[in-house]
Amino acid sequence: MFDYQFLIEVLVGGLLSGVMYSLVAIGFVLIYKTSGVLNFAQGAMLLFAALTFVSLVERAISFPLAFAITLAIMVVLGVSVERAVLRPLVNEPPITLFMATLGLSYVIEGAAQLLWGTQVHGLDIGISDVPLDIAGVFISRFDLFAATVAGSLVALFALFFRYTRTGLSFRAVADDPFAALAVGLRLPRVWASVWTASGIVALVAGLLWGARLGVQFSLSLVVLKALPVLVLGGFDSIAGAIIGGLLIGAIEKLAEVYVGPLFGGGIEAWAAYVVALVLLLVRPSGLFGQKLVERV
């Protein structure tokens, strides 16, 4: 007899994992939407943020102060990246910008280890992970907390983009950078703001992923979880990143549990990419991405 309770447990677990993927994906979307750059350094920024935070806490700096200092460092990092790397490469082909961020990821990873050492760290953010038992279905308290944080972050971004001058500038640049430039918006300032926002997302995602995995070099690999989410949801849609994350999370868990045994297991890593690839063939801009229309 089919075990529906188990199905629900797998599905809920997948959806909650998906929220964590979305959190990483949002960092990519912010940069891509305004500057057309796929920021491969997002994972390295996440590692840098988490490592900085945990290293400060281990040096007896209080949690809120460590958060504030790390936030300030991420803002400086974001602005510096825009100034030193992206601004000189304006109008270069997208592949050049992508390669620049690839190089940047190595620089940030190396700098993080140089600055804070190579040891792994535990990160306790005070959320117990003893599961909630709801009618026999175990639900992770930590994942529920992470989902709440991710939801709050998205809501904050939505308010920011709708009701603040910088947010409106961001949307204008995202819609049409040339028109935005023509009406007097300063693109470098918008880009710097976006890199800053991306740094903040990296910090939040770094803390949540760091609490989940431990703060260690492998944190930078979580970008691999975000890529199928971006393909599915679209590279330029925050809503797409959320829904894409939920879908990928659920699909990979269900695939692993119900289809995996047919292939000897271990399929969830590539099952997500299979789904993304199929969607790419059918709908290249993703479920929520803007269709690219070019005059030829």
Binding site: D3, F6, E9, V10, G13, G14, S17, G110, Q113, G117, T118, Q119, V120, H121, G122, L123, D124, D129, V130, P131, F138, S140, F142, D143, R212, L213, G214, V215, Q216, F217, S218, L221, V222, K225, E252, K253, E256, V257, G260, G264, G265, G266, I267, E268, A269, W270
Partner: protein, 443 residues
């Protein structure tokens, strides 16, 4: 004339500086090329292991003036645990005079070096890991998976579970899940677990975790549904703390998770926080700094400001102690070889002979200041593992505590399987199988 004199002087100075920079062959030095990894994803393990190894070599140099007067030297090449970089370092350092042995502590790099070191006749030490069938010294004369190969590790874990249950006969009808890393390393023990399950009649399920293992929700939900008595964690890197954390999420008790040798370090449990409390893992060397040899390292090496670890709190950690034990085994192999060939710089082949006679009984281990740090080793020309014993340690949230005696794997059961695999390798590679320790080693 003046110009040409200046030119001659400049030329002579240039030649002299080049000669000074080139490694000179000295009769009283034995060189260890180290393919270390101090940056990158596995740097925490690399700094601990190579730190311990170098600390021990330093101890021998400072305290004893080397091995019978032969000074130990080393040079490091950074690999970041990448195979191609490991091979590059091999090619760069193999020409240095007096190479004693290679110790990469990397399955991938070790595999890539087997043909090279066999041709160059220098030992390759893969302590606690490597190809299981390289235990058979008849086929792999230069490879030494010292103390523990993957099959012995598997047998040791099953024997430990049996001891907890009250004997091997109590394993019948028990259920064991093996959660393994989705890599050749992780998959290597699949067949031996099946054989042991058949032998002892326990129910077995083996579940793969895709690399790198930072997401294991579905695997642990499957485990919860399977309701096993024990889960064996055959992990690596980030997979280990994530396994422990996810086990907590599904309510599986940590003290029924048994980790293998690459899931047994502080780096594997600290990131998991409270979820790791009670977790048990196999080891060939106990952790802690209470052993006399560790105390000497602290006093002599760190006291002289020559300690290799930046963070002294890591002295006595699992990887550091593995490096110390690896140092002991390398140094003793040289000492044994010197007794036969003379107190001088040895060739790689002579050091290979030393390893093939590396027999340290518990009394000798105690004399080396390592009583209870590791048990003993008994390497022979055809048994390159050396029948290492294993023990089990439990994480209490702050440190590892030994919770078992020294356990022997079922070598008699494993040996025919190893020989069969080695014979197949020999046939495939056209290797002449040695028939005695006196056989000339051919390439």
């Amino acid at each position: 004339m003046i110009k040409s004199r200046y030119l001659r002087v400049a030329f002579a100075a240039a030649v002299a500086s080049v000669l000074a920079a080139a490694p000179a062959a000295r009769a009283d030095e034995q060189f260890f090329p180290l393919q270390s990894y101090r940056v990158g994803p596995y740097a925490a393990g690399g700094t601990g292991f190579f730190g311990g190894f170098i600390d021990y070599l330093n101890l021998i140099n400072i305290r004893d003036g080397g091995v019978n007067g032969v000074k130990l030297t080393w040079d490091e090449g950074e690999t970041q645990y990448e195979v191609e970089r490991g091979v590059e370092v091999y090619e760069r350092l193999k020409g240095r005079p007096g190479v004693a042995a290679w110790n990469p502590l990397s399955v991938g790099i070790a595999y890539a070096m087997i043909d090279r070191i066999t041709k160059d006749k220098v030992p390759l030490i893969t302590i606690n890991h490597g190809r299981t069938d390289s235990t058979d010294g008849r086929v792999f004369p230069y490879v030494f998976p010292l103390l523990l190969n993957p099959y012995s590790e598997t047998s040791g874990i099953v024997n430990y579970i049996a001891s907890r249950e009250g004997g091997v006969d109590k394993l019948k009808d028990k259920k064991i899940v093996v959660l393994y890393h989705g890599s050749p390393y992780g998959k290597e023990t699949i067949p031996i677990y099946k054989l042991l399950a058949d032998k002892y009649q326990f129910s077995l399920e083996q579940i793969e975790v895709p690399h790198p293992g930072n997401e294991q929700q579905s695997q642990w939900l499957s485990i919860r549904r399977a309701k096993p008595d024990y889960v064996v964690l055959r992990g690596w890197g980030v997979m280990n703390p994530v396994a422990l954390k996810t086990a907590q999420k599904v309510g599986f008790p940590a003290d029924h998770i048994i980790g293998n040798v690459w899931s047994n370090s502080e780096e594997d449990v600290i990131p998991a926080g409270d979820a790791a409390k009670g977790y048990i893992a196999i080891t060939t060397q106990a952790s802690g700094e209470q052993y006399p040899v560790l105390q000497e390292v602290i006093k002599t090496v760190y006291g002289a400001g020559k300690g290799n670890l930046d963070d002294k709190k890591r002295i006595g950690s699992v990887y550091h102690n593995l490096g110390i034990v690896n140092g002991i085994l390398n140094v003793e192999a040289i000492r044994i070889a010197q007794a036969k060939f003379g107190k001088r710089t040895l060739t790689g082949d002579e050091v290979r002979w030393g390893f093939e006679h590396l027999q340290l009984d518990p009394a000798r281990v105690e004399a080396l200041g390592a009583k209870d740090l590791f048990h003993s080793i008994n390497v022979t020309w055809d048994n390159h593992e050396g029948d290492g014993r294993v023990t089990f340690q439990q994480w209490d949230g702050g440190k590892w505590k030994v919770v078992s005696g020294w356990i022997a794997p079922d070598w008699a059961f494993l040996r025919p399987i190893i020989e069969k695999s080695a014979a197949a390798y020999a046939k495939e590679h056209g290797i002449k199988v040695r028939t005695s320790g006196d056989d000339p080693v051919s390439n």
